[in-house]
């Protein structure tokens, strides 16, 4: 049997022909990186290749690395295998990785979403034979509301809290979700304060996107300064002493997981906004269809259920175990919520 163009190994997705890995989870010689989240861009590879908008992100996260930046659609050959990066719409600088050899095309999505969030370059479907897709939210229970509606709800929530003289604390991942929220917060309502993790990451991205002004919360920040304003914090800050000092406050979380009432209650946030950087059920199905692919490989999320459904729809679909998604799903579901005990 002929060796497939991409193989799933214990180090990551491997192209034997080019001796290069896609988003490997163990240190390798050459890695093509889809985006900056920690489960996809890990420490310790000798050479990194990624989209140039992701270069500042992974340089910030991983420190001194040997990295080459590419443009959207710019082909590069490694040992006669043609690679190119295409927008995935997940976060700033996130790409799908297209691999072509002798007319056979594979696409690896990393993480992606179909909705244009206005800060990540919007997702583009790429024709291919084999489509390696995430399916974090691969259940019919997930249907996203357009972001305009959700963001308007968030701003209303903030305004209501301000009217009651309370501080609004909004949780979102420090890379991606936080900037998406920040971009659309209505600065007519009040000022935006940030947790250090979010402030630092936003600082890295300011040259790429025009964001509203933020103020880092420090030891010297007075409680009264925060009243009526909004604080952007990573989910891990929930229940920490850092937060407790901000009383009176109201908390909310912005995540696809907020779809579930159980997840919302478990997180013990006052409000859950359903806002995701992944595809919902119909987004996954429509993008798969648009690729024209016959072979589908599901990497992370509700893989077994999703691939079974795809098979029933006539696709040659299967599941491959990877180490993606762990960070995000577990963090989303888990996070430190000591306050709920």
């Amino acid at each position: 049997m002929k060796t497939p163009l991409l193989q799933f190994t214990d180090k990551g997705i491997y192209c034997e022909k080019a001796k290069v890995y896609l988003d490997p989870w163990k240190p390798v010689d050459k890695a093509i990186i889809s985006h900056g989240h920690a489960d996809h861009s890990r420490y310790g590879h000798k050479h990194y290749i990624t989209h140039h908008r992701n270069v500042p992100i992974i340089s910030h996260r991983l420190g001194e690395i040997n990295v080459a930046g590419k443009h959207w659609g710019e082909p590069f050959l490694i040992n006669n295998v043609k690679f190119s990066l295409h927008p995935a719409g997940h976060i700033i600088g996130s790409s799908q990785i297209r691999v072509e050899h002798k007319g056979e095309v594979w696409v690896f999505t990393g993480d992606y979403k179909t909705e244009n969030d206005g800060i990540s370059t919007p997702y583009e479907p790429i024709k291919c034979h084999t489509f390696i897709t995430e399916c974090t939210f691969g259940l019919p229970a997930f249907t996203w509301t357009p972001q305009d509606v959700v963001l308007a709800d968030i701003n209303n929530w903030w305004a209501e809290n301000r009217a009651e003289g309370k501080t609004s604390i909004l949780f979102g991942y420090s890379l991606g979700k936080a900037q998406r929220l920040l971009k659309y917060l209505d600065t007519d309502i009040g000022e935006i304060y940030t947790h250090g993790a979010i402030e630092n990451m936003t600082e890295v991205l300011r040259p790429l996107v025009d964001f509203p002004k933020t103020t880092l919360i420090t030891r010297d920040t007075k409680k009264d300064q925060l009243l009526g304003n909004i604080v952007l914090a990573p989910p891990s800050a929930h229940g920490s002493t850092w937060i407790r000092k901000m009383v009176p406050y109201v908390t909310a979380s912005a995540s696809g997981w907020m779809t579930f009432r159980g997840a919302r209650r478990r997180r013990a946030v006052d409000k859950g906004f359903v806002l995701s950087d992944h595809c919902d059920w119909s987004g996954l199905l429509s993008s798969i269809k648009e690729t024209g692919a016959e072979k589908i490989i599901c990497t992370h999320g509700y893989t077994d259920i999703f691939s079974r459904y795809l098979r029933e729809q006539g696709y040659d679909a299967r599941t491959e175990a990877t180490q993606y998604g762990e960070e995000e799903t577990e963090v989303a579901l888990a996070s430190k919520s000591t306050a709920t005990v």
């Binding site: 259940l139 019919p140 229970a141 997930f142 249907t143 779809t259 579930f260 009432r261 159980g262 997840a263 919302r264 209650r265 478990r266 013990a268 006052d270 409000k271 859950g272 509700y302 259920i305 079974r308 459904y309 029933e312 577990e330 579901l333 888990a334 430190k336 919520s337 000591t338 709920t340 005990v341």
Partner: protein, 597 residues
């Protein structure tokens, strides 16, 4: 429906009691009277009977969502709530509905009698016109089990705020049998009507568990102590020659316990007794496991009645001669109760004695000689005492005699042999309060039994634990027929760990799954937990042959590997009586050994 759905959404999106009460109060101030009655009914678990079974609901929902049934089921396992799953998978439309909560509930009542085709059309039409949250609430009303973190107490508090009627009075008014479909808000809440109160129980007074040292309760002479019986807390009401038996869950269970019909005519009208329904097989207090065979059965067979009869262990008197005496000190209520008990049993005894004496005379005249007549009388007298005890299934929960806290502690040690859960401590001068209040009544349970077991299966939880593996099955070692050690399942538990521990275990389970059976996964035997439980009994219904009562995880024994977990044999040793046996066995063995030496 819109307002009710908004109320549920508001209640659902906060963890703060004050915010919940505020949302409910505002709702009660603005809702129509009929909607108010239905809201009270729903929040006090008085829903109309389920009009559609859940199998059909699943089929029809997946049909409307255009997904295969298996995919619906998988989604349900992950979402963890049927109504929520249905609300999530049905596509949104631009339509809306202005029907009120009452209209919807009346339609649901009417729906029960309709054909499947009509039911399906009704559901499809309504699912399409409701928005996500309304759809969720609508489906919840159909499936039942409205658990949204609002207790009846909380609802009553809000109602008290909205109506400015005292909370305890409202709690009393809301108890008992009433039909939201016929009663008006005026009748239920505002009016005072004596005849309505015929079946009404009083709100139960509930005790807190003692957390600190028992000595901290102060002067021992101010307290009364009795065993804490392990049955069904209930109120037995006798009014107007009618009997009503209420369980603590505010369920009228009169029909389930026909034994108590004997109270009519024996216990005077205008009496309400607070006590515990206990199983009484072979004239001894049984285990909760025995009682389990009676719970949940509406009609009880003669065979079962004979096998597991029940008694009422009375410990308090709330109404006497038609008067509410809850404000009297416990000591005085107890005194009246004891007199009542004495009268009931004596009266009964004298009746029976009367009967047998005439029997004796009857017999003596025909066939018995003078000499042995007294013997016969003696015999029948002892028969009488036996019979009178089992005739009227009323027992008194005896107060314990003690002079020091040490005495009390000693009595607590006897709990397991008495088939009790520990002790109840009641302040002698305390009135009978409403709900769970600290101070006057305390439960002092015996320390639980514990055993170290291996985690073997896991299932996703519900509610706030949906999508997390939090429901576990545990196993103990046992030698199979081939003499090999194998793990035998013995209990399920889903409480006792911190949220952080649950998360860790959830992540581990996802990575260490061996097999999947629908929502259940078998996992690599690796983790050992100390399982605590309140009671233990032999059981034919369990694979292990043992039933444990209220098992939960006490500790995650990370220091132990699976081979250090306990065996089924160890568990069996914990059955009361068995330990005694093994002790004597050991003793015998020891003495044997010493003889050999």
């Amino acid at each position: 429906m819109k307002n009710f759905a908004l109320l549920i959404k508001a209640l659902d999106s906060t963890n703060k009691t004050t915010v919940k009460v505020q949302a409910l109060t505002t709702y009660f101030r603005n809702a129509s009277d009929v909607d108010k009655v239905w809201t009270i009914a729903i929040l006090s678990h008085r829903r109309p009977p389920r009009p559609v079974n859940t199998t059909l609901l699943r089929e029809w929902a997946s049909e409307l969502a255009n997904i295969p049934l298996w995919l619906f089921e998988e989604s349900y396992h992950i979402v963890g709530d049927l109504a929520e799953t249905i609300a999530l998978i049905i596509p949104a439309t631009e339509l809306s509905s202005d029907k009120s909560l009452t209209e919807y509930l009346q339609e649901m009542i009417a729906l029960k009698k309709k054909s499947d085709e009509e039911k399906k059309n009704y559901l499809h039409e309504n699912w399409k016109v409701l928005n996500y949250y309304e759809r969720f609430v609508f489906t919840k009303l159909i499936t039942g089990g409205f658990r949204i973190g609002v207790s009846q107490k909380l609802m009553t508090r809000a109602l008290a705020k909205a109506t400015e009627i005292d909370e305890d009075i409202l709690a009393y008014k809301l108890m008992g049998k009433w039909d939201p479909n016929t009663i008006t808000f005026q009748q239920l809440i505002l009016e005072e009507n004596e005849s309505d109160f015929l079946s009404k129980p009083y709100p139960f007074y509930l005790a807190y568990a003692i957390e600190d040292e028992v000595e901290d309760l102060g002067d021992v002479t101010a307290w009364s102590a009795e065993h804490k019986w392990d049955g069904i807390r209930s109120q037995v009401i006798l009014r107007n020659n009618e009997l009503f038996v209420w369980s603590r869950g505010e369920e009228l269970v009169t029909d389930k316990y026909p034994e108590f019909e004997k109270f009519i005519g024996t216990i005077p009208n205008g009496t309400v007794i607070d006590g515990e329904i206990l199983p009484y097989p072979n004239n001894h207090i049984g285990t909760f496991n025995d009682l389990q065979t009676r719970i949940g059965r509406k009609t009880v067979s003669a065979a079962l009645l004979k096998k597991v009869p029940v008694i009422l262990k009375a410990y308090d008197l709330l109404e006497w001669e038609g008067k509410d005496i809850r404000q009297l000190p416990f000591k005085e209520r107890r005194h009246i109760l004891e007199n009542l008990f004495k009268n009931v049993t004596e009266q009964n005894q004298s009746e029976v004695t009367e009967r047998s004496r005439s029997e004796v005379t009857e017999r003596s005249r025909s066939e018995v000689t003078e000499q042995n007549q007294s013997e016969v009388a003696e015999r029948s007298r002892s028969e009488v005492t036996e019979r009178s005890r089992s005739d009227i299934p009323l027992h008194l929960s005896e107060t314990i005699y003690f002079t020091s806290w040490e005495d009390v502690a000693k009595e607590r040690e006897r709990a397991r042999e008495m088939h009790s859960e520990g002790l109840m401590l009641k302040r002698k001068d305390s009135p009978y309060l409403v709900g769970r209040k600290k101070g006057d009544w305390w439960k002092w349970k015996v320390d639980p039994l514990t055993i170290d077991a291996v985690l073997t299966y896991a299932m996703r939880g519900h509610g706030r634990r949906s999508n997390l593996f939090t429901d576990y099955t545990f196993a103990l070692w046992n030698d199979n027929d081939e003499g090999e050690k194998e793990l035998v399942t013995f209990a399920k538990a889903y409480s006792g760990l911190t949220d952080a521990e649950f998360r860790k275990l959830d992540a581990w389970i996802k990575k260490n799954t061996l097999e999947r059976f629908g929502p259940v996964r078998s996992v690599t035997p690796h983790h050992v937990f100390e399982i605590a439980f309140e009671g233990i009994a032999l059981s034919k219904r369990h694979k292990s042959g043992i039933a444990t009562r209220f098992p939960r995880m006490l500790r995650w024994r990370k220091d132990k590997n699976i081979h250090e977990a306990n065996t089924l044999k160890d568990l069996k040793q914990l059955i009361p009586g068995k330990a005694q046996e093994s002790k004597t066995q050991k003793k015998e063995q020891k003495s044997k050994e010493s003889v050999e030496k």
